[in-house]
Amino acid sequence: MSEPVVELRDVVRRHPGPVESLRGVSLRIEPGELLAVVGPSGSGKTTLLHIVGTLDRPTSGLVRIAGVDTTHMTDRQISGFRSARLGFVFQQFFLIEGMSVLENVAAGLLYRGIDAKTRRRLATITLERVGLGHRLRHRPAQLSGGERQRTAIARSLVGRPALVLADEPTGNLDSTAGAEIIALLKDLNCDGTTIAVVTHNRELAAAMHRRIELKDGRIEKDTGAPISA
């Protein structure tokens, strides 16, 4: 069997103050999985996403992403690692208003030293893949919510990451647009993209192949990777 995309062992993350934290989480995510992390507010979902996304470091425990131990990397190393191996999708989209849809997606490759022409070419291909080939020159403000999130998804995919992490990707969308995004994520997973979603949304969670339920910073239930994965 191939190397896991994510391997956490006894990960503890304590925050000063009342912010959600992790109290010993062990987890493996295999390539090609489509999984949801669910749980009530304060259960540690977002912290887990930040730890897996190398945006935050554990207080103790082992974090291996794509086979690499990221816990002792320098800022430069970990930033480069993030740009090459990880993609992020956020509830608020975080598109930059001053740039076109194409430029926003191309920004996903900005910190990899790739020339602008190649970035735009790859961004165009990726936007076509998510069904926004006709919106390249538009500004984010001119798009519907669903289109904005698809733009953000294209940005997370453009660098061909080992893992896409999505934090409440349907949280700011109506149900129709949300359903479109769910379909897109499933579709991308069929192409081989490993996707982990953090969500409250039952519909979204139900659509994922595997569900990890967090409570009070611990994994309470894990439906496990499907045998087929």
Binding site: V68, S79, F81, S83, A84, Y111, A116
Partner: protein, 400 residues
Amino acid sequence: MRPSARDASRLRASDLAALASLGIRMRRLRAALSALGICIGIAAIVGVLGITQSSESDLVAQIDRLGTNLLTVQNGRGFNGGEGTLPLTAPAMIGHMPGVEHVSATALLSPPVYRTDQVPAFKTGGIGVRAADNSLLAALDGSVLHGTYLNSATGQYPAAVLGFGAAQYLGIDRLDTPARVWIAGRWFVVIGILNRVALAPEIDQSVLVGWPEAESQLGFDGYPTRIYIRAATDQVVAVDNLLAATASPESPEQVAVSRPSDALAARIAVVSSSTTLVLGLGAIALLVGGVGIANVMFVSVLERRSEIGLRRALGATRGHIAVQFLAESLLLSILGGAVGVTGGLVAAAAYATLQGWSILVPPLAIWTALGATLFIGAAAGLYPALRAARLSPTEALRSA
């Protein structure tokens, strides 16, 4: 799999320019206002230095044109606006000095001069009558505006030549029709009007009559009161040193020797010192401008927390974030500086043109101004940039 060189986070220099201008493009009015202080400061500095330099170079050109080799000799004990007398022999003695190229003696006479015999006696307008010899124009490097100067013939007749200012005061600006002036109870025909003599303003305010005519008709005793000497350029100092003793061997201490070009040189110093004040004000404007930019950068960092978080998620290092905001601050400041330099140049050029000066802006002023904007941009952006860089990705993403 180990982290490889392939994974290093890299930002191309060509992309940095676009990044730096992003914030400015998104908020143009704010950017323009924040750069205004720098713009005004730089415009003031470049403009003032340009105007000063143009005016100085104009004065220098004037001095060059007029020459620094004109010397005047007077009796140092002049009184009540009158001039004391010099020995009769002084012009001839000075003429024999080595290094003296031209000597011209003049004498200020007491009778007033009037446009006509109807003018009340007190209305002299500060115009004096001066006996002058034939070599005055050669010594002063002066020229005639209208008519002719005195010569050996006209000097013996009631003929007068007007200084530029005297002609203006007397209302005689052309000689198409015969003009006369009323001096000491008799008419003098005006045969010429002189151009302005910058180094001898007293000549401008004088009506000149021939030496022999003055002696015979105006009761002139023949004693000169002011002698103009044009010395060889390389011997001015030597001539200067010996003039007093030569002019009046018996009482050289009564002789005052002056060099009229010194007065022009003194004006240069005055112009230079008055710019210091304006330059100081410009520097204050720059400081305020820098504070303005720092302020705007702080606000920008606060507003763009989520963008910072996003960029960190996309793989930007702390350094990349710092460089982006620092570059934005530098760009703001440079834009303000560039507009300021242009504005200053235009102002200096307009003023110089208005004054009829040749336009001259010291390149050093422009380079200093641009250097100052770079420094201000860096200083104003440094702390906000470091604040942006220190922001942790999770904190930045949580804020939205």
